[in-house]
Symmetry: C2
Subunit: 599 residues, 2 copies
């Protein structure tokens, strides 16, 4: 049993729940068939298991160190990235004309997940590089693309995203980093950036920082932010890295988890000129950044899922092999101890992990497939519909796994008991790693505001309408089917509660009050979406179960059991939450700061 | 603002919610009055803030190390324990005739909480020592008490509890450690014990291990377990520590958190004779151990509360001083950023912490007071009633804080954002420390089984009846009061749901099925109990608010707001959970292990 992937589940998502084959029949992906996709996943699994997984504990215990001059990282990281690079995976989703492999996004996403399950500390570097390259590809000039893209797609240069500053974490409106046009036509960057992952390392020949900064004289707030390419080494005319560009590492952050990916405080232009290259138009930086945000945010949610999956697989294997205790009805101390997987509560902890992790992976796959379908669709109305769907699902895809796959990791520790609490077993590491995900790439609260403050309101509520229509179509499919009819009814009721709460909020004229419970709304909304994902998976499982071989019957039964678990143990919770949101409760909003502890 | 205690809240619990003064009027506690209690709390707070708190981060980063011969711990730990010892606090709750301070248990408990909030790694040592001394005091012979108790009560010798073994963590029925009577009348102990906190250290002159072992020929299972005193150093006739007793440290466990307390694998009798002294009668060991279990378990729950409190206080202070962002209605980027405590969701995260932590502290205080009232009561029926109440509340007092004050620590990290995820701030440490509490001293699941499998059934349901009567008395008091009437009604409904679920379970003839959802029952039962605690606190706050000074009005308003939060955001959840439990759902129990991932 692999500790990083359930390949049967990937096939289920690719070919039974979603329809990857329809995508492979389009001209864009004509180089791929089911066999080719399988071969790619084989290669990725092998690299992840051989190079990423074995050094995960070591990397966590020996985080990158900075001696004031260079950052040292254990050599296994460079070796693992070398294998990833050699397989061409930095370019997995880029077009062949750019030197990429032009894989469907769905495939490159699920493939990437194996690396993140195996070693989240290493997989952060390609994740950031691909994101930065994507943005360059979308908005850079031809000259910028020619200079920076090839070494990034080849994995020789890495990338970063430089948004936050010490005084402006969540509030990009307040960033201060400046970009002043010099006499010789360069933008000179000056300021400090905080929380920059991969901001310094010696793993790549150069680092391409994508930096948000203000051109003096521009508008205040987010409308005056521009995007710049700021390389660690300036680039020579022949494309090789040249002299240092005065991006200086001020310090590494020492995190609870995710220790393998350096996280940095960077100073720009303190010791001399720091050159930046304006991307696109001035003052459009945030728009460009947000254009790529959906993918980055889905990526964060996916990372959370994969930490959750790694914990689930590990604790399942443990539970199947650890004898301890007896069933409640067995009072004979001379009877043999049972494997702990026999205990109802261990099964509950496993089933909850499965329901969270596989449900959330279904959502990530669904979002990735939406990106693919947008790309190949030739129908403008269809493209618009898919874009709306992706927009409204993105805060959920980022946030729900970050919350509930962290809970899954908590359960994995519980299954291992005392052992799970020690660093001799990986489950405590997954729990520490995963705690990052509700914080970065927009905090949990910010995604609540995004969902309830923007996404459900956008285009006159069009995005929500599209989503509801999709969910209702699934409900209609399940309705009347033995074994699924009850779920259809329950999901329909949950959707009704969602609708009622949303209407109450939208009817509220006081925006602060309307958004005061945006986070509980986000969580409950996510539960409805994940229940929908489970109903989709249950439909596919019911369809395929008849006539399947024994192993597949087990697999499909597992899907049906997890669906049942989610509908019985989880979905009913949304009614309480939606009632709270719909009541426009002001308990928190109205709290005076003085009363928390008194005097 | 103290980072380890809200003294105003302690006074509120001691004198406004509970009635410590009634206890201080009894002969047993006649040495104490309100002033004396205040002085004790002052001293404790000072030692905790001056000696425990400053080295907490250092101790976490420099966990005890074992070089194969001795265990090294940073010297600050010994200094802190020296101050604790000098204040006489090892003997806080022991009778003066034993050399103790004979404090009310309620006072020594709340006092001890400050040390655990300041530095859980250090406070583990006295906690274990006091527990071991308590057991000796209750069941040891006069000779054993004379030899071992004084140095423990003086804090010169420390104690441990040796229950678990590598093959028997939760299943004490399967322990194998042997105690064989030698020709010269000693019991020779042989075997391995796992997860022994404080099992080795150089902080104390001797270590008194309280060890569960089997005398060959005894009954199988838990009925054949005896209790032994096994000192690290044998004790000379003059009471001084003598030669080593062949208790050998096989290794330290390296934990995610709680790193300051050594956690050990111990080998008994491998390299030579290991002498043990039988406590009480043979085969009664587990009964003796369980006699002290209530206090130990309440102590674990209390530790969870104090980690939660430390995170709450730290994140509250941070939220009041960190500017970031603006209210949703404010679209002007030139307006000043607000302190994050102004944001509704930050207030939600603070209010949830307050509701969890102060509600749970109320329960811990209530349980400690029950122990005191049992001690001073002269009415046998009353004593029995108090004992039943304590028995049924104990699994809740251990488990609810372990689950929800861990959630509080999760929220504290979230408030600090990226900073909270770094080791430069203490909140990630609290989160790591607190993750231990649902595991040790009986896992979360085991307390569910204890509650639903034993406590609600014991004495024909008498314990549950006593508890329900107590809660109903509080409901009756609140009923009709403006501002509390609604809570009274909601708590009454929740109690009805609890009753219905309990009846359904008790009517089920299949014990395995009846107990399959014992954990969700435990969590929901806990919510009802904590709601009761909040109603008690709200009644006290309403009573005192009128005519109070400004600072006190803020304090009482905070109590009323937290009560409102708990009743609106938390209590409604129990209906979903009790419905699930009452439905005798077999989703988890019936799951075949093969289906989790398929083949």
């Amino acid at each position: 049993m692999s500790m990083i992937v359930n390949r049967r589940d990937l096939d289920f998502l690719l070919y039974e729940v979603l329809d990857l084959e329809s995508l492979l029949r389009t001209p864009r992906y004509s180089d791929y068939d089911r066999e080719a996709v399988g071969a790619i996943l084989d290669t990725a699994q092998q690299i992840a298991e051989d190079k990423y997984l074995p050094c995960a504990t070591l990397l966590d215990a020996n985080e990158p160190a900075f001696d004031g001059r260079t950052v040292t990282i254990i050599p296994e990281v460079s070796q693992a990235l070398g294998a990833y690079r050699a397989a061409g995976f930095f370019g997995a989703s880029f077009d062949t004309e750019l030197g990429g492999l032009q894989m469907p996004y769905l495939v490159s996403t699920l493939m990437g997940g194996m690396f993140s399950a195996a070693n989240g500390g290493i997989s952060g570097y390609p994740f950031l590089t691909i994101g930065a390259a994507n943005m360059l590809n979308a908005f850079g000039s031809d000259e910028q693309k020619a200079r920076f893209l090839p070494p990034m797609i080849e994995g020789r240069w890495f990338g970063t995203m430089c948004l936050s500053e010490p005084q402006a974490g969540s509030s990009l409106s307040d960033i201060r980093t400046k970009a002043e046009l010099s006499a010789d036509g360069h933008y000179l960057i000056s300021g400090n950036k905080m929380w920059i992952s991969g901001g310094e390392q010696e793993l790549s020949e150069n680092i391409v920082h994508m930096v948000l900064a203000r051109i003096p004289g521009g508008p205040a707030g987010v409308k005056g932010i521009s995007l710049f390419i700021v390389p660690k080494y300036r680039v020579n005319a022949d494309g090789t890295p040249g002299e240092r560009n005065n991006v200086v590492l001020a310090g590494l952050n020492h995190k609870m988890g995710h220790r393998g990916t350096t996280n940095t405080l960077l100073n720009f232009g303190e010791g001399g000129e720091c050159h930046g290259h304006l991307v696109g138009e001035p003052h459009q930086g945030l728009k460009y950044m947000f254009h790529m945000m959906n993918e980055a945010r889905i990526g964060v949610g996916h990372g959370a899922v994969m930490s959750g999956l790694a914990g689930y697989l590990y604790s399942l294997d443990y539970a199947r092999n650890r004898p301890q205790g007896r069933h409640p009805h067995d009072k004979d101390p001379n009877s043999a101890q049972v494997m702990i997987v026999e205990h109802a509560d261990i099964r509950r902890l496993l089933m909850a992990q499965k329901a969270y992790v596989e449900g959330a992976l279904g959502l990530i796959a669904c979002c990735a497939f939406l990106i693919d379908r947008q790309k190949v669709s030739t129908d403008e109305a269809e493209q618009g519909r898919l874009a709306l769907l992706l927009d409204i699902l993105t805060p959920v895809a980022k946030s729900w796994p970050s919350e509930f796959c962290l809970e899954a990791n908590k359960h994995a520790i519980q299954i291992l008991g005392g052992y799970g609490y020690t660093r001799d077993y990986p489950v405590e590491r997954f729990y520490r790693d995963n705690r990052l995900n509700p914080i970065h790439e927009g905090t949990h609260a910010i995604h609540g505001l995004d969902l309830l403050g923007r996404k459900v309101r956008m285009a006159g509520g069009a995005a929500l309408k599209v989503l509801v229509a999709e969910i209702e179509a699934t409900i209609a499919e399940a309705r009347g089917q033995t074994g699924l009819n009850g779920y259809a009814e329950e999901l329909s009721q949950a959707l009704g509660a969602l609708d009622e709460a949303t209407r109450a909020v939208l009817a509220c004229g006081d925006l602060n009050l309307a958004l005061a419970n945006a986070t509980p709304y986000l969580d409950a909304f996510g539960h409805v979406v994940i229940a929908w994902m489970w109903l989709c998976q249950a439909i596919a499982a019911m369809r395929a179960r008849e006539g399947a071989n024994e192993g597949d019957v087990d697999f499909y039964d597992g899907k049906l059991a997890a669906c049942r678990f989610f509908f019985r143990y989880e979905l009913p919770k949304v009614h309480t939450q939606f009632r709270l949101v719909g009541s426009l409760d002001d308990t928190c909003l109205a709290t005076r700061p003085e009363i928390f502890v008194g005097h």
